[in-house]
Symmetry: C2
Subunit: 417 residues, 2 copies
């Protein structure tokens, strides 16, 4: 079964909005064993929309469209479906009633243009929208299933999950195993996984600053045994770089499991380490506090760093990083102190201390790296590096050079985009 | 001139990667006066790629493709261009030499498959790639310009800017004005802008949690006068909600301009306010420190909050928020203290204090809201709300109810996706 996604919206083609609907739908469809072969994005233009729908219907079996269900003149999905599939639109009083109720509930002024949303193609199944005014619809014609969903993700996602997925035939004869790796370059992970997987399964890698997501997919009757064997071997081969969840999730889970309390002192990462840790529910059990000591005065006052140390070595230095980690642990009463000090740029660099130079401290251990990229990148890389040092310490693999990974992005052969 | 984008890469259709290249290219093309009408994404499948290229060449004038230039077997861009445009590939010794030099420089093992990257369509202009091995190429055929660029953004972006843009005819008879608004619902901003712009120009809105980006585009000989008039009227109509840059950039700029020092105490936002502020270069002049006081003990110890206050009102309460803001200002010596305390969820809520309840304090002023959405969302909304309160105070519009905006996402009429 070939699946095609169609996003409509001029704003998607002006570069203002990144289309996250397509990626989300592709992931859900992938989990259901279906693979997307095409994705089209078309601006709000009736003729081009009709052409795109016809093209999609001619080459794909399942077509999922997002957007264009609003009440305004440039919301063309209903009309384009009518034209492309030769299905007249019919007025549904029940839709209009639901819209009226919704407007009353939220005490909003009703606009008569909303009445346009009460028309759907004849014979189509109505897909309820508890989070907005526009209902979706779905019909089957000449062997092609067509579903039209609203553009806003909070309306689209529950509608797809609750009303589209149950209506399409998914595959069950496959299994997927996922893990993460931190600190190894993508090329190295690719070599390792490729060597293990061979022709027994397929796999994909996704990279996000330092972290590689590995996804292995097996088919056939023996898929579970195959995945069990492959995953065991990948785990072993990755060693301490292996993670079963994202870096910050693993760190919080390991802290909670060990009942180990943490405090963080951030300079150049500016709160990013704390922000990432506090994305995980339950972190309040173990994270006592985090201090962003941007000024030297606050390093001295909040963390008890010796001003002479800053004077002698500079705020961006190994001794100051260590003193910050010790200081935040001592003053907060946490069992582990983590600290980062560095030069995020674009200014502030010098010959001896270039932009990107960062010192990461976990307890008494300090490592330094020069990270490439812009300010935002340096912050991301330094925060990830420090969190990974903390993870390695928690799992008893502290100082593992391989798992700490290279400081600069690896350059060279990129086997895949 | 109709522009079409084509992204290739199976990983883009598995939902693992979000395609940011298309949005970036659309933005650059828009700035050059060109509008994208179509965007196709195709998996790494030779036949489908050829079909997509043919389709694009039949309906568009400028076709920009990203990805598929790597050295592996499923990198099909070169071969698909050969097939679709009937242009034989030719071997360029100069490309191979550049690849060899690059590998030597980074002391990487050379793979012979990289030799595939030395083949490009006959007569095509070579687009140098200083950031990777794969060069791009560009040719014109039957009135269609076709450019093939590598997938990794750090290779693609400079190549497009330095070698594609100078080769395509851009438009200069248009002008764009951009601004931001914080705190007003999208629908209200739309009404305001629509009423002012009328038929004299076109405009687009983009929303990102609380912030609306407004972009107005005028054409014709009088475009500058038109934009000057429209922008003046939009500025006036938006009042204190008007911003000429993103919220955190405005806040840092206003702090620096007023030589006002800041300290932040975050509970439920967990470092996000500090993280956003420290994305702006130069913030170290004014941000003395930020404290993430996740535990009650640290609220007492770091900020001097009276434990009796926490006992009486709870950590999530107006008096504690105010005490945190006062405390962080006093203990850091900053002129303004900002504090947030709330329940980010998913746990920790109660009937009287539901998940999403947050107190934001700027100096002595405290406001409370119940924010909807998941943990990540509540953090984002609370951080944005507090930053906007700070901005309003800095520009002398403190307590402006309209500009503070609604707590819950507005529901109802969505004129556009």
């Amino acid at each position: 079964m070939k699946v095609e996604l169609l996003s409509t919206g001029t704003e998607l083609l002006r570069g203002k909005n990144v289309d996250t609907n397509a990626a989300w739908l592709a992931r859900q469809l992938g989990k259901a064993g279906l693979e997307v072969c095409h994705h089209q994005t078309v601006d709000d233009h009736f003729g081009r929309l009709v052409d795109s729908l016809k093209l999609a219907a001619s080459r794909s079996d399942l077509l999922i469209m997002t957007g264009g269900l609003g009440p305004t003149e440039d919301d063309y999905t209903r009309a384009a479906a009518e034209e492309a599939f030769h299905r007249p639109l019919v007025y549904k009083a029940s839709i209009w009633k639901a819209i009226e109720t919704r407007f009353r509930k939220y005490k909003l002024k009703m606009a008569s243009i909303n009445k346009r949303q009460a028309w759907i193609p004849k014979g189509a199944a109505l897909l309820p929208n508890p989070n907005g005014t526009a209902p979706g619809f779905l019909f089957r014609q000449d062997g092609v299933v067509f579903a039209a969903l609203p553009g806003p993700p909070r309306e689209m996602q529950p509608m797809f999950r609750d009303h589209v997925l149950p209506r399409i035939r998914t595959r069950a004869d496959f299994a997927v195993w996922e893990c993460f790796s931190y600190g190894l370059p993508e090329g190295t992970v690719d070599e390792i996984v490729n060597g293990i997987v061979g022709k027994r399964a397929t796999y994909g890698l996704t990279v996000r600053i330092g972290q590689v997501n590995i996804s292995i997919r097996a088919e056939g009757a023996r898929r579970k045994q195959v995945l069990a064997d492959l995953s065991r071997r990948v785990r072993i081969a990755l060693g301490p770089c292996y993670m079963d969840a994202e870096l910050h999730e693993v760190v919080v889970r390991e802290l909670i499991a060990r009942k180990t309390t943490l405090a963080v002192a951030e300079s150049c990462t500016g709160g990013l380490i704390a922000h990432r840790l506090t994305e995980v529910p339950g972190v309040s059990e173990v994270l006592l506090e985090s201090v962003v000591t941007y000024s030297n005065a606050s390093k001295v006052k909040r963390l008890g760093v010796d001003p002479a140390l800053i004077g002698e070595h500079g705020a961006v230095s190994e001794p100051v990083a260590r003193a910050m980690a010790r200081g935040v642990a001592r003053t907060s009463g946490a069992q582990i102190g983590v600290a980062v000090t560095g030069i995020a740029g674009p200014g502030g660099g010098s010959g001896r201390k270039p932009v990107g130079l960062c010192y990461m401290a976990v307890g008494d251990r300090v490592e330094s790296k020069v990270f490439s990229g812009d300010r935002s990148n340096v912050k991301e890389r330094a925060a990830g590096y420090a969190l990974n040092m903390l993870r390695l310490r928690l799992i008893g693999a502290e100082g593992n050079a391989a798992a700490a990974g290279p400081a600069r992005k690896t350059v060279g052969v990129r086997p895949r985009r």
